[in-house]
Symmetry: C2
């Protein structure tokens, strides 16, 4: 099977001109088929603020009312996505910007209201792997914004980590997929105050041990659980690293 | 050759929920291959206003400084484009939202400064007809925002009428193209105060006569000149009509 690298980068990297330029240069170096999923939360928060719309976060997720949905559709689907696409085109990479609505690549359902009403937030229901695969095989590089649609005419705000993970799973039967989650650090750290204490490999056993010992904690726990879930679904490799290291694929490798 | 209908709709139609719903219903009725080009100027002006950015228009064109470029990229490429795409997907139409940067479909050059510095405004240099044709032949409906890119990493603001016209020309060798410009009236009117005085057919001879007689004037003159230019370049038919009439293709037919 052909190799495919799926890179997920957070908002911080793509929202500043200099870090974006570096990311695009690094991304361009990745050999073979590739796909980029981006965030944009900081820009959305900034725009909402300028428009007098209050940003409300619960468990790291944005409560998305009708006005906020407009903001994220503008920021993620417009500004951030097109800036990346134009930047990649300038490097000779035939990028296409996509939300879940475009070509119906990711359909979701509005999150049911339990304790919290997240508003126009979508839980991924179906990723159209065949359409993405057809694009990739024609040398096209999909750049996916963290937005999906419900198939009934509404866009929905959707977590970029989730989109990357679900896309990796959907393509796992068609490609040998490496999923790379980029964040601020070089990898999962043994000591959060020591940037050079990257744990090279995490298996389920090591994960359990480190969680018990308190070495792995907080937001890293769901990230790693998602990684194991992707591996179970056929993704070949998951890497957690910094954006600066994507071309090297160094960092923490998550293994079954 | 297969028939292709290219519809250009202004911002007003796509920016209000009820007129947009009607447009999507009418657009869905158009048989055969089709492509939509949309505006969004009113929403851009509104957002700019809320952000305290002054909208400056010269000859109907928006002066586009760096901040305004962000606004139009958000509004045209994000909000308006994705709202249309999600709406079409809900009708079972496999739409894809595109700016000129996506798949490099429309490259432009920043307009040279003469009397007026329009800023980040692009004059269309090349439309990638083959890529659009390949999408159309796979049953995909392109929805094009009035944005292009310069091939060097920058998005550029580009007039939607121009995009529709240049796209029609680029596809004229591959399809039997009907280009439909939608505006507020049912067609070109003989008497601007009488909505039922639609001129059914305009040829270059009739055009010249009506211009001399003052029946055709103002902004309609460049619109018709563009139409004749499209016909000269191989477009089969140009129609000027209201959005409500696109399924019927009634209105004013422009002929060589």
């Amino acid at each position: 099977m052909e190799k495919l690298t799926i890179i997920k980068v957070g908002g911080k990297i793509v929202e500043e001109a200099d870090t974006l330029a570096q990311l695009l240069a690094d991304f361009a170096q990745i050999p073979g088929l590739k796909l980029l999923v981006h965030g944009g939360g900081r820009s959305a928060t900034k725009l909402a603020e300028r428009l007098g719309i209050k940003s409300q976060m619960v468990n790291g997720r944005r409560i998305t009312d009708a006005e906020t949905l407009k903001v994220v559709t503008m920021v993620y689907g417009g500004l951030v996505n097109k800036t990346i696409v134009a930047g990649l085109q300038a490097k000779g990479i035939n990028a296409i910007g996509l939300t879940g609505a475009d070509l119906n690549i990711i359909r979701s359902v509005k999150r049911p209201v339990k304790d919290i009403d997240y508003g126009f937030v979508g839980d991924v229901e179906a990723v159209n792997g065949e359409t993405l695969s057809a694009l990739l095989h024609r040398g096209i590089v999909p750049v996916i914004a963290p937005l999906t649609h419900d198939g009934r005419g509404s866009m929905l705000n959707t977590n970029a980590d989730t989109i990357a993970g679900e896309t990796a799973k959907a393509l796992a039967g068609m490609f040998e997929v490496t999923l790379v989650y980029c964040f601020e650090k070089k990898g999962v750290l043994r000591d959060e105050n020591d940037d050079n204490s990257v744990i090279p490999v995490i298996t389920p056993d090591i994960f359990q041990k480190y969680v018990e010992e308190g070495i792995i904690q907080g937001g890293m726990i769901p990230k790693l659980e998602n990684s194991f879930s992707a591996l179970q679904a056929g993704v070949s490799q998951v890497v957690i690293t910094s954006a600066a290291a994507i071309a090297q694929a160094s960092g923490t490798i998550i293994k079954k």
